[in-house]
């Protein structure tokens, strides 16, 4: 039933996935947060991660760019493959990994600098440009892609903190795009935004799919339904069900999924 509504582009779901997670187990000290999670993240698709509070979806997301490394007690078992290479292999440079897998956070967190400098920071530290004109171009392209160029092109050197919440979040997206990652991770990016700003970001996510693979954690089921092609439902650290979004929301296979998405869970 779902296949009727996929465009030709979306049928690329069947192509090799950008990231594979195999039997991922995550521990915070003695406490286990994720149990044997296996999930494929298709390229150029948006995958939504849903589930009740504390189910492990944010922890899972943070495993994808090794942000859990910051937590001293975090232990990861299993494999997370990016283009076939395990990102937890000892030879992997975390700093380089994060140029391939970027992240946007729940609360917009621009640096207390100018708009230009915010977007330019990534390219600067990774030396991704040859001269000033190059850098200007990168900044402009990223702001364009984030749908923010028109609104800020005349005030690039003003502090980023003067932008509205929705604009700040789009700036954070532009900042993440500027290093040209393959995958963009989003941890509830719209939860601090009003409906119009939310709609703009969702539209942006749809456009970004052309060039990036996106994984988004959201509490908002309707948002997951709107923006994603694949949805994964987590519960108490287990991946209960994952599938094409349309199918999952009309005929979920697992009773727990059904209970959660219809609001009977609890």
């Amino acid at each position: 039933m779902g296949a009727l509504f996929l465009s030709a582009r979306d049928l690329r779901l069947k192509m090799a996935p950008k990231m594979n997670v195999k039997d991922l187990n995550l521990f915070y000290g003695d406490k286990q947060a994720l149990f044997n999670v296996s999930l494929d993240l298709p390229e150029f698709q948006t995958t939504a991660l849903i589930g009740p509070s504390g189910c492990g979806k944010s922890s899972f997301l943070r495993c994808l760019n090794r942000m859990n490394d910051i937590v001293p007690s975090a232990q990861v078992e299993g494999q997370v493959l990016l283009d076939g290479h395990d990102i937890y292999a000892p030879s992997v440079d975390v700093v380089e990994l994060r140029t391939h897998v970027g992240m946007v956070f729940q609360k917009p967190n621009p640096f207390p600098r100018s708009i230009y400098e915010n977007v330019a920071y990534g390219p600067r530290i990774h030396c991704l440009f040859k001269n000033k004109t190059d850098l200007d171009k990168i900044v402009e392209k990223s702001l364009h892609r984030a749908g923010l160029w028109g609104e800020v092109k005349d005030r690039l050197h003003q502090p980023a903190t003067r932008l509205s919440g929705g604009q700040q979040q789009r700036l954070c997206i532009a900042r993440a795009i500027a290093v040209n990652p393959d995958v963009i991770l989003m941890d509830e990016p719209c939860s601090a935004l009003d409906p119009i700003a939310t709609a703009k970001v969702e539209e942006l996510i749809d456009e970004l799919r052309e060039k990036f693979t996106i994984v988004i954690v959201t509490h908002n089921l309707q948002q997951a339904a709107r923006v994603s092609q694949q949805t994964a439902f987590f519960h108490s650290g287990y991946l209960v069900e994952a599938g094409e979004t349309g199918a999952l929301f009309t005929t979920p296979q697992d009773k727990r999924t059904q209970g959660y998405i219809t609001g009977r869970y609890g």
């Binding site: 039933m1 089921l221 339904a225 009309t250 005929t251 219809t262 609001g263 009977r264």
Partner: protein
């Protein structure tokens, strides 16, 4: 299945469900009365049926409004969504069945202006199965029973056969004596309405099937039976 966390949502779904059942019960009653009025040549009863049809129309409007409201405000998904969509379809179909019943009652009034005609009894035989079909179809909806729905679907074959046999009878009668054409035409219409009741009931069964399984109804699925 658990209750919804939001009780009001549960109440709305239950109300929708109940409205469909109510419509079904009333319609079955209308069919019964219409056939009775026809057989007994009871003009008063027929008029009752015709007047009562409006109530069922109002019920359909209520179902529509409530369903749209639930869709807008609750954004139902999965089983809830399928139930609401089924309710919309089924209310439409039941309302049509009720129209057919009212139409049959109209035949009564017209036939009463003519002398009594023997072929009428055949109709009470003809109506038996369609009446069962709509009863069972509504029950299948009420209980989310796929097997019952498939049963209903299969019953239509028999209705078609009986209908065709009855038609042949009427044609024979009309050919025998042109005087019979008048009453026979009315009986023809009544029979047609009864056949349509059977058809619509299969539509209801198909809607119930989709509601429970989430898949569109395909004939090949019935072969499992």
């Amino acid at each position: 299945m658990n209750e919804h966390i939001v009780k009001a949502y549960d109440e709305e779904l239950k109300t929708l469900h109940a409205l469909i059942r109510h419509m079904g019960e009333k319609t079955v009653e209308q069919i019964r009365k219409a056939i009775q009025s026809l057989i007994e040549r009871n003009g008063k009863l027929a008029q009752e049926v015709i007047d009562h049809d409006n109530e069922i129309n109002l019920l359909e409007i209520k179902v529509d409004e409530l369903a749209v409201r639930i869709l807008a405000l609750r954004q139902p998904v999965a089983s809830d969504l399928r139930m609401v969509v089924a309710a919309l379809k089924i209310s439409n179909q039941v309302e049509r069945i009720a129209d057919y019943a009212a139409n049959i009652a109209k035949r009564t009034l017209l036939l009463n202006e003519m002398p009594p005609f023997p072929g009428i009894e055949g109709l009470s035989t003809l109506v038996r199965i369609p009446k069962q079909m709509i009863e069972k179809a509504i029950s299948a909806f009420a209980a989310s029973d796929v097997d019952l729905a498939l049963q209903v679907w299969h019953m239509d074959r028999e209705v078609d056969e009986l209908y065709n046999a009855y038609l042949r009878q009427l044609f024979d009668t009309m050919i025998t004596d042109p005087k019979n054409i008048g009453p026979c035409t009315q009986l023809l219409f009544a029979a047609k309405n009864i056949e349509r009741i059977g058809d619509q009931s299969t539509n209801i069964a198909e809607a119930v099937y989709t509601m429970v399984t989430g898949k569109p109804f395909k004939e090949s699925d019935t072969l499992k039976k």
